[in-house]
């Protein structure tokens, strides 16, 4: 098992290098640059800009820039922001808790509700409940996340005034947990909505697949009642594809969080990414790309380990 | 003795066992491990064995649907083991295979007419009206109505689909047909129909068959020569009468004793053969049958027996027969 994890970690190194090269290349191919903001400022001369370019190392060829950045990365130095010169890793880690709070709460909620809907739909296939869940999921998946976000703000924040329309805290309420929860509800629900729809579908088909297996018939022929059959026999088998899917779905979850954070002004990594994109903050953008890639790789590794723990055919071969 | 139509010498087909992650070779499955066979023209050779015996791999290796690892396959006097692709294509007109599950080998979206026309088109043998006539002939030959040409595989029963499979194999008038469990998926009443068809076609077209089957009743009904395989090797071979009524290898004896008979009260008193067929990835030492053999001796676990020829073309690979 340990050697398996070790090998997987080693395998992810070329993957990370590939991601960084593609990310770096695309970033530099995009029009404009970090110095574009200065060109609009009449008090800054061309000489000033040239001087800043040299200071930031942007005068060097792209591949040299890449190697400088990459060798820094390899030693744990994620670089410094162009504006403000703050360490990139620090900037990202500062935003991380907010994002993980939003993603974690939305994901937990979505999996809880989505899986319940999916299991009930599979157990009572073609029932009224199943039909409603199916059409509900289709509706939720048909609209873009930002539309739900704007509608939620319009309805609950503006019309009804029940909840704040954005941000994470009211001024001076940074330590008030209740205030945080009130701010969290809308973005969490909006982000959870689409994930719930997706997971109810995944769970339903995973359970349907499992419930038609021969061993489920054996479980029934043994005299086990429905809860025991579902919990002991169907659930572990259905969980396997779902865990694998969770690993694969992580990037989609990340981009969903990005959109939601932007709509609700949630001060997480999504906002950081959008701001960095506007400012062409290369070091921050690269840091974000690498962080996301690492997160997804680790997520998939965890998923694979969980599957190996669940399935003796994977574990013992 | 007549020159055999097909001769197999020292055929070995090994598969690498790859590790899950890095696809490194960590072992070898010796699916076929030194098999000698010969079929005379117009004869039926039966290959019997249980799962893991390698009987299916032998059939596919002869046609080079799976490339053999070592050994020679000589067909009509030509060593075909190293023929190039183009030459092999020409050869496949004269050697055909019929599989167990006709459904999976028939394209569900093609009509029976198209399926049967394909061999003629691939080998550029017939076109237009001539082609339609040839397809109609094939359908008649296997006892299907002419309208079958316009229908799709799913509209047919298992037995009828197997007739289509046989018709396709016959299209280019082959000399040798390898049947890989051709009647195993069929109900017994339909199985009889197909066996009778195979026998009639053999007489009418002068065909030679290699019939691969786990069903000893089927093999004894249709075969002239029989080879019994166990874990990649032929343990006993010879004329039908010798194998079924004078078996020398303990495995052949046990196999015959295990066959249930449709005659109540005929069950022999002796205990069935114990144990399972071992994995061909880890075959036992010496004679591969020794852990299950009721008559195993000390040398059986150390030394693999060599094939011993008895009178009448009966060959046995067993230390009980091998003499000193």
């Amino acid at each position: 098992m340990l050697s398996y994890v070790g090998r997987r970690v080693l395998q992810s190194v070329p993957l990370l290098i590939g991601v960084s090269i593609i990310g770096f290349a695309l970033m530099h191919l995009a029009p404009g640059g970090p110095l574009a903001v200065y060109t609009l400022n009449p008090t800054i001369t061309n000489q000033d800009i040239e001087r800043i370019r040299i200071v930031l190392g942007l005068d060097q060829p792209v591949h040299i820039q890449y190697f400088k950045w990459a060798s820094g990365m390899a030693t744990g130095n994620w670089g410094y922001t162009f504006f403000g010169g703050r360490p990139v890793l620090g900037v990202i880690l500062e935003r991380m808790p907010a994002t993980f709070l939003l993603m974690g709460s939305a994901l937990s909620l979505a999996i809880l509700i989505g899986c319940t809907i999916g299991v009930l739909g599979a157990v009572r296939r073609y029932s009224v409940f199943d039909m409603m869940a199916t059409s509900g999921a289709m509706v939720a998946l048909s609209f873009p996340t930002f539309w739900f976000g704007l509608m939620a703000i319009y309805l609950f924040a503006i019309k009804l005034g029940w909840l704040p329309s954005g941000g994470m805290y009211e001024l001076g309420e940074e330590d008030n947990l209740l205030d945080l929860v009130r701010h969290l509800i809308l973005p969490c629900l909006v982000l959870a909505l689409v994930i719930t729809a997706v997971w109810s579908r995944y769970t339903r088909s995973a359970f349907l697949e499992v419930m038609h297996q021969d061993y489920m018939r054996t479980a029934k022929a043994k005299g086990l009642r429905a809860p025991a059959r579902l919990l002991r026999h169907a659930l572990p088998n259905a969980l396997k594809p779902l865990i694998a899917l969770l690993g694969i779905e992580l990037p989609a979850l990340f981009s969903g969080a990005l959109v939601t954070e932007t709509i609700f002004g949630w001060p997480g990594m999504g906002r950081l990414f959008v701001d960095a994109l506007n400012m062409k903050e290369y070091p921050v953008l690269m840091g974000m790309i690498m962080f996301t890639a690492l997160f997804v790789i680790v997520g998939n590794l965890v998923a694979d380990i969980l599957i190996a723990l669940l399935d003796p055919r994977v574990r013992l071969s | 003795m007549v020159e055999p139509l097909l001769r197999v010498e020292g055929l070995r087909t090994h598969f690498p066992v790859l590790s899950k992650l890095l696809r490194r070779r960590v072992g070898t499955v010796r699916a076929v491990d030194g098999v000698d066979l010969a079929v005379a023209p117009g004869e039926v050779l039966g290959i019997v064995g249980e799962s893991g015996s390698g009987k299916t791999t032998v059939g596919k290796s002869i046609l080079r649907l799976i490339e053999p690892t070592a050994g020679r396959v000589v067909f009509e006097g030509t060593d075909i083991t190293h023929l190039a692709r183009r030459e092999m294509l020409g050869l496949r007109r004269r050697m055909q295979i019929v599989f167990q599950d006709p459904m999976s080998s028939l394209n569900p979206r093609m009509t029976i007419g198209r399926i049967l026309a394909a061999p003629f088109e691939i080998h550029d043998v017939a076109k237009g009206a001539d082609l339609r006539e040839k397809v109609a002939d094939l359908l008649r030959l296997v006892g299907l109505p002419a309208e079958a040409a316009q229908r799709f595989p799913h509209e047919f029963s298992g037995g009828q689909r197997q007739r289509v499979g046989i018709a396709r194999a016959l299209a280019l008038r082959p000399r040798l047909i390898i049947g890989d469990e051709p009647v195993s998926a069929l109900d017994v009443s339909i199985q009889a129909q197909i066996l009778n068809l195979l026998k009639r076609l053999q007489g009418e077209l002068g065909l030679t068959y290699i019939l691969i089957s786990h069903n000893l009743g089927v093999v004894s009904h249709i075969c002239d020569q029989v080879a019994v395989m166990y874990l990649g090797r032929v343990v006993e071979s010879g004329p039908r009468e010798a194998i079924f009524f004078d078996p020398k290898h303990p495995y052949t004896e046990a196999l015959l004793a295990a066959v249930p008979l449709p005659e109540p009260g005929r069950r022999a008193a002796h205990a069935p053969l114990a144990g399972d067929v071992p994995s061909p990835a880890h075959p036992p030492s010496g004679c591969a049958f020794h852990p299950r053999c009721p008559r195993a001796m000390a040398r059986c676990s150390v030394e693999a027996p060599v094939a011993t020829a008895l009178p009448g073309g009966h060959v046995v690979a067993c230390h009980l027969v091998g003499g000193a």
Partner: protein, 327 residues
């Protein structure tokens, strides 16, 4: 011989499937009685309805789409059709067990086999985990698995097909049921392993006195294992009787045709095997008269016009035929 009372009795059992535009009858009025301690073979080709019958007895068919009806399914004096789902669950695996054709897929791949055998013991007998495990080890030894202490920790994929079927038998017989329904228990196995499993079933039957309903397409398996046999064709029983008499002198032309079409190992080879022409009629396309008439060499107008019903013909035999053989 017929002194033993019936432990499981099906009366006019019917199974239909709802399809667009009607109901497809897979089982059409099947009646039989399984006596205490005997083996009754239910034999038929694909589409005969034998597997549907077996699943219907344990109420394992998914409904919808299946529709189950019967005058009664009597088991130990109770009508299974009148039991609640909970009461039925209490019987399954305890008094009335079943094993299936595919030992490769019938066991949960994620659960060690020890736990899979413990389950019915804990569920039905209320044993503690420790007591159940002791019984499981004993059961594994009795179904012929070497080193039970290691076997309980094994997972299904580590066992051969024959071993898995032994585990299935251990699960089914764990609570000493009155009836075991075995649906093609050896069809997926090699012939030497089939002989082992059939011998094991015979031995355990003698030890436990379990009545076995053996469902198979293989008449030879019936001949070696069953005391009585019922032959099914197109959803109905066409002939039934003691094995020896039925095999020696089949009354129904279908039974006779089946027996004759089996290729046998004999010194003299027949030039052609006797075959039954044609194919089994599709369910839902059954003729008004005898379902076999179209394939039968003896059928006349009466056979095509009216359906024959099972009629006693002496020696505990029954046949549904207007023109029985050897009659």
């Amino acid at each position: 011989m017929d002194a033993a009372p019936a432990v499981l009795e099906a009366r006019n059992l019917r199974v239909g499937f709802r399809i667009p535009g009607g109901t497809m009858r897979a089982v059409d009025g099947v009646s039989f009685a399984l006596r205490q301690g005997e083996t009754l073979g239910l034999v038929g080709e694909s589409g005969s309805g034998k597997t549907m019958t077996s699943l219907a007895l344990l109420r394992l068919l998914e409904s919808p789409p299946a529709e189950l009806a019967a005058e009664a399914i009597l088991f130990e004096g109770r009508d299974l059709l009148r039991l609640s789902e909970g009461a039925m669950a209490d019987l399954r695996g305890a008094r009335l067990s079943m094993i299936f054709q595919e030992p490769m897929t019938s066991l949960n791949p994620l659960m060690a086999i020890g736990r899979q055998i413990d389950e019915p013991l804990v569920t039905h007998l209320g044993l503690s985990a420790r007591a159940a495990r002791a019984r499981t080890l004993d059961l594994l030894a009795r179904v012929g698995i070497a080193r039970p202490e290691q076997a309980v920790r094994a997972y299904p994929h580590q066992l051969s097909g024959g071993m898995r079927q032994r585990v299935m038998i251990a699960i089914a017989l764990a609570c000493r049921p009155a009836v075991l329904i075995a649906d093609e228990p050896t069809t997926a196995l090699d012939v030497t392993v089939q002989a082992q499993i059939l011998a094991l079933l015979r031995t355990l039957q003698e030890e436990m006195g379990t009545a076995i309903l053996l469902i198979t397409h293989d008449l030879a398996v019936i001949a070696e294992t069953a005391h009585r046999v019922a032959v099914m064709y197109a959803g109905r029983i066409v002939e039934t009787g003691p094995v020896a008499a039925l095999f020696a002198r089949p009354l129904h032309p279908y039974t006779e045709g089946l027996l004759r079409s089996i290729p046998r190992i004999s010194r003299v080879r027949e030039a052609t095997l006797p075959e039954i022409p044609g194919v089994v009629p599709a369910p839902g396309q059954l003729p008004a008269g005898c379902a076999f008439a179209a394939r039968c060499g003896f059928a006349d107008d009466a056979c095509h016009a009216t359906r024959p019903v099972l009629t006693p013909s002496g020696e505990g035999r029954e046949v549904a035929c207007w023109k029985p053989r050897h009659g």
